[in-house]
C-alpha cells in the first residue's frame, strides 16, 4: 500500500498542511491588499514607484535578509536572542529553499505539487538518483539541527529570560500560546518523522542516526504514518492560528520593509501603515524593559506591545488610556526590532480623541509680534567682525523663558562670539506647535507653524537658533523654512567652538550628559553636545545613553500622568545618570533640566550654562 502512495506523491496527511497553507496565504494576500488600498493616494503612488526604484529595491532585499532572516538588530542587542531567532528563521527558510531545490533536481515532474517539498522524504525512496543528493541530505539535517538548537534556546528563554537580556517579557495571549507550542512542536516532529523514514528515503547524520536508534526498539514501520500526520497537523495548526497570533509579524514584516523604505508615514490611527505596524509587532516585549514608565511596575501594561495588542482587539478604552499616558520619549521605537514606531502610533490615536476645546490660532495677527527687535534691518551689526555673516534669529520658546539662566547664558554666548543675532520672542511669541502636535491636535499645530513661519520669513534671518529640543524637533520636521538653517544650540555652540569664535577653558569637573528624548532619538543629535561637554570638562557616560537614554519623566508627551506619578520615573532616570558618579549633570533641554533639578542631589545644568561659565 505504501508503495502506491509513495508513487502517486499524495497521502491524506498532507491535507492539514494544505488547508493551513491556503488559509494563511489568502489571509496574507487579503491583508496586504487591504493595507495598500487604505493608503492615501499619494502614498500608494510613492509605494509602487519605490518598487521599481532599483536603489530602494536593493535596500528592500538587504533589509529582508538582515531583518527577517538574520535578525541583525537582535544580534546586536543580545547574542543568544539573536541566535535563537535567526536560527529558526534562517534555518526554516533554508529548509524550504533546499526542499524545493531537491524536488526540482530529482523529481522535477512533481514540482507543481505544493506539499511535495515539505514531505519530500516521505514520498521519495532512496535510489542512485536521489543519493547523489547526499549533499542535500546533509544540508537539510544540518539546518534542522540549527533550528532545533534555536527551539531549545526558546524553551530555556521561557524559564530564564534574564539570560537573554530581558528583565520582563510579554504575557502571552491564548492564540499566542497555541502558536508558540505548535511552533515548538513542528521541528521535533519533523525530525521524528524523517527519522522513521530515513532508511527508505535516505538521510544524513541526524535522521539516519535517529533511524538506527528508533529501529533498535521501535521496529515497526507502522509508526511512520502517524508521525507524518502529527507533523502535518502541527504545521496546519500553526498556519491556521498564525493570522490571529503574534506570529503574523513574520509575513507583515515582509510588507513593512518596502513600505518603510518607500518613506510612508502614519497618516491614520488604524488604517494603512498603522494596521501594518500593529501586525508587525512580534510581541517580544523589548519595549517593556525600555519604557521609562516601567520604573513603576503598574505601568508595564502601557508598553507599546500592549498598545498593539489592544489595537488588534479594538479595546478603545485601553487604547486611549495607553495613548494618552505615554511620555512619547520614543525609546520603544528606538529599541524595536521590527521598527514599530510606538510614539507616532500613539499620536495617531490621540488625533481621534475628542476634546471640548478646539482653539483656532489662524486668526492671530503676527504683525504685533514683528518689531524692530526681531527684524534684521539691512545693516549688519556694527560690532560684528567675522567672515561668515549669518543673521541668527534666536527663538527661546516657553520652556527657556521659564528657565531664565539658560536664556541669560545663551545671550552671553551669542554676544561673546560676535554673532549678529536677534530675539524672535523677547516680547512674547507663538508656541512652536510641538505640544499640540504631541497631543494629536495636528491642525492647531499647523496653524501655529504657519504663523511662526511668517515671522521668521519677515525677519530676514538666515538661521533659526533654538535652545529647546521640543521646539527644535517641530521646526526641523514640520516647518518648511527654505533658506533658513534650523539649529539647536548644542549644534551651534559646537560650530562656534570649532570655528574658533568661542574659546572654552577646560576644568576637571566630571559631567554626565543626558540625551534629551526630543534631541537624541527625536533629531538624532548625539555627537555635538558631547564634543562641547568634553571641551569644558571630563565627560562621563550614563549607564544607558544615546539612543537608549532614559526620559527625565517631565515630558510634555503624557497627557494624563500626574505629578506624583512622575517622581519615581525621574528618580530612576537620575539613578541611571549618576551611575558613573559625575560632579554635575548636563543636559540640553530646559524641561529635562528643571525636572531633574527638582530631585537631583547634584547640580543640573544646561549645556549653555557650562559653556558660558567656561568661556
Amino acid at each position: 500500500m505504501n508503495n502506491v502512495t509513495h508513487l502517486s506523491g499524495y497521502n491524506n496527511f498532507v491535507l492539514p498542511f494544505m488547508i493551513g497553507m491556503i488559509f494563511v496565504l489568502s489571509c496574507c494576500a487579503i491583508g496586504a491588499v487591504r493595507v495598500i488600498l487604505e493608503l492615501p493616494a499619494s502614498d500608494k503612488k510613492k509605494f509602487f514607484l519605490s518598487l521599481i526604484n532599483p536603489k530602494i529595491m536593493a535596500q528592500n532585499v538587504r533589509d529582508w535578509f538582515c531583518d527577517c532572516l538574520f535578525h541583525v538588530k537582535l544580534w546586536k542587542r543580545n547574542k543568544l536572542l539573536g541566535y535563537m531567532h535567526s536560527s529558526i528563521a534562517f534555518g526554516w527558510f533554508m529548509i524550504i529553499l533546499l526542499g524545493h531545490i531537491e524536488v526540482f533536481l530529482y523529481t522535477p515532474d512533481r514540482i507543481h505539487k505544493l506539499w511535495y517539498p515539505i514531505f519530500f522524504r516521505y514520498f521519495v525512496a532512496v535510489n542512485d538518483n536521489t543519493m547523489q543528493g547526499s549533499f542535500f541530505f546533509f544540508l537539510m539535517d544540518f539546518f534542522l539541527l540549527i533550528i532545533l538548537s534555536g527551539i531549545l534556546l526558546a524553551l530555556v528563554k521561557r524559564v530564564r529570560s534574564r539570560a537573554f537580556g530581558m528583565r520582563r517579557t510579554t504575557r502571552l495571549s491564548f492564540t499566542d500560546r497555541i502558536g508558540l507550542y505548535s511552533l515548538w512542536l513542528i521541528f521535533p516532529l519533523r525530525l521524528l518523522a524523517e527519522g522513521f523514514t530515513a532508511d527508505i528515503s535516505g538521510g544524513s547524520f541526524l535522521t539516519m542516526s535517529l533511524n538506527h536508534v528508533l529501529h533498535s526498539f521501535l521496529g515497526s514501520e507502522m509508526n511512520m504514518l502517524p508521525t507524518w500526520w502529527a507533523y502535518s497537523l502541527t504545521l496546519g495548526t500553526f498556519m491556521c492560528i498564525l493570522p490571529f497570533s503574534r506570529y503574523m509579524h513574520i509575513p507583515a514584516e515582509i510588507l513593512l520593509i518596502p513600505m518603510r523604505n518607500a518613506g510612508i508615514l502614519i497618516t491614520h490611527s488604524r488604517k494603512g501603515v498603522s494596521r501594518l505596524y500593529v501586525h508587525t509587532c512580534p510581541g517580544c516585549g523589548v519595549c517593556i524593559d525600555a519604557c521609562p514608565m516601567g520604573a513603576v511596575k503598574a505601568n508595564n501594561k502601557d508598553a507599546t506591545v500592549y498598545l498593539n495588542r489592544q489595537l488588534k482587539r479594538g479595546n478603545q478604552r485601553r487604547i486611549n488610556e495607553i495613548s494618552e499616558k505615554c511620555l512619547l520619549c520614543g525609546k520603544c521605537s528606538a529599541v524595536c526590532q521590527v521598527g514599530v514606531e510606538g510614539d507616532k502610533l500613539r499620536i495617531a490615536q490621540r488625533t481621534q480623541i475628542k476634546y471640548n476645546l478646539s482653539p483656532d490660532y489662524s486668526k492671530i495677527d503676527v504683525n504685533s509680534l514683528i518689531n524692530t527687535n526681531n527684524i534684521f534691518v539691512n545693516t549688519a551689526n556694527k560690532n560684528v567682525s567675522y567672515t561668515e555673516n549669518k543673521k541668527v534669529l534666536y527663538f527661546a520658546g516657553c520652556m527657556t523663558s521659564l528657565t531664565p539662566s539658560i536664556r541669560k547664558s545663551m545671550v552671553s554666548i551669542l554676544n561673546k562670539s560676535g554673532v549678529d543675532w536677534r530675539f524672535m520672542d523677547e516680547e512674547g511669541g507663538i508656541c512652536c506647535g510641538r505640544p499640540m502636535w504631541m497631543a494629536g491636535r495636528l491642525e492647531q499645530a499647523k496653524q501655529m507653524a504657519e504663523k511662526n513661519t511668517e515671522i521668521i520669513k519677515t525677519s530676514g534671518a538666515d538661521m533659526l537658533l533654538l535652545s529647546c529640543p521640543i521646539c527644535y524637533r517641530i521646526f526641523k520636521e514640520r516647518y518648511s523654512l527654505e533658506g533658513v538653517e534650523v539649529l539647536h544650540h548644542t549644534e551651534y555652540i559646537d560650530r562656534l567652538v570649532s570655528e574658533g569664535r568661542l574659546n572654552l577653558s577646560r576644568s576637571d569637573t566630571r559631567y554626565v550628559y543626558h540625551d534629551p528624548c526630543e534631541l537624541g532619538r527625536g533629531c538624532n543629535i548625539y555627537e555635538q553636545p558631547r564634543h562641547v561637554v568634553s571641551a569644558v570638562g571630563e565627560l562621563v557616560e550614563a549607564a544607558k545613553n544615546g539612543k537608549e537614554s532614559v526620559c527625565c519623566g517631565g515630558s510634555l508627551g503624557s497627557l494624563t500622568l500626574g505629578f506624583d506619578k512622575r517622581k519615581p520615573l525621574t528618580e530612576n532616570a537620575l539613578a541611571n545618570l549618576t551611575a558613573g558618579s559625575p560632579d554635575a549633570i548636563v543636559t540640553a533641554c530646559p524641561l529635562c533640566q528643571s525636572t531633574f533639578g527638582r530631585y537631583s542631589d547634584r547640580p543640573v545644568k544646561d549645556i549653555a550654562q557650562i559653556v558660558d561659565e567656561n568661556s
Binding site: 523663558s401 521659564l402 539662566s405 541669560k408 523677547e426 505629578f563 506624583d564 530631585y599
Partner: protein
Amino acid sequence: MNEIVVIIGGGIAGLEAARQLLALGHSPIVIEKSDHLGGHVADWHKLFPDMKPAKDIVDELVSSSKDANIFLHTEISFINRLKDRYNIMLSNGISITSRYILFTTGFRLFDAAKKEEYGYGVYNQVITNQDLEKWFNTSKDSRIDNSAMKAVGFVHCVGSRDEKARNTQCSKVCCITAIKQAIELKEKFPDAEIYCFYMDLRLFGKKFEDFYIKAQRDCGIHFIRGRVSEVSENIDGKVIVKAEDTLAGRPMKVTLDLLVLMSGMVCNPDSTRVAGMMSLPIDSDGFLRSTDNVSRNTVSPKNGIFYAGACTGPKTVPETLAEARSAVLEIHNSIISRR
C-alpha cells in the same frame, strides 16, 4: 526634682522653652548650630500685627533664658538610647545624658532659586522676603536701589502649595508677611506702585484682616489674583513680570524695580537628620510627625522626646511660643509622674 532637658535649637521656641523650664526649676541645655540665638526671628525686622520690633522679642527671650546652659556653634554628632535616657554627643566633644529631649529645630526657608522661572539668583532685582527683612534691619543690599523704587512686586506662595516644588503645604505666614512688607515698603517709598500676586489670601490671625484692608484702602497696594508665569529682565536691568489676572481674566505684564519672593517654610533638613538618629517618624509634608496632630502635637511617639514650634509644620511667632510652653508643661508633668 531638678532634671536636665536637652533643647535642640536656639530659636524662639527653644528660648521660650528654656525660660519656662528654668522657671519650673529644671536645667535646660540649649544646643544651637549657628553663632546667635533667636533663629529666623533674629533676622526679622518687625512682627505683625502690631509692628513690634523682632529684636525686642528676641532680646527679652535671650535675657530671660540666660541661666540655661547654652552651646552656640554646636551640632548633634549622634544620639543613642540608653535604658531610660539618651546619650547625646555634641560636635564640641561634650556628651550629655538626659531623659528628655525637646526638638525646637524649626524650619528652613524654601530655596527660591529652585523656582527658576522667578529668576532668583539669575536677575539682580529679585530678592526673597528674608532678604527684604534683612535690608529693613541693615539698609544694606546691593540689589535694592533707593533712588529708583517706582514699582515693586510680591509673589506669594513661592515653594508653598506647589506640587512642582515638592511642597504642598501652606506656609501660613507669607500672606500676612507680604502685606506687612508691602505696607512697610509703601511707607518708605510712597510713590511706588506695589503689586501682590496671590493665589488666595489666607488671613486667619488676629487683626490680619485689618492689615489687608489697610493695605488696600490706605496704601493703594494692588492685589492681583493669579500666579506669576514668567520673569525676565530688560536692558535697563528691570524685571518684567508676566502673570495672569484671573479675576479680570486677562494676561498682564508689569515692569518692576524690585520683585520680592515670599519663600515658604520647609522642614529643616537638620531636624530630619537628628530625627533619623532616633528613628522618629516624618509626616507626609516632610515635617516631624507628632503622636496626634490635634491633641498631642508636642509629643513624639518616643518616650522623653517632645516637639515645639515649626519643626512639626509652619507656625506663626505666637503659636510657636505657645507651643513651647505647652511642650514644657508636658515635660514637667512627665517628670512629676516619674517620682
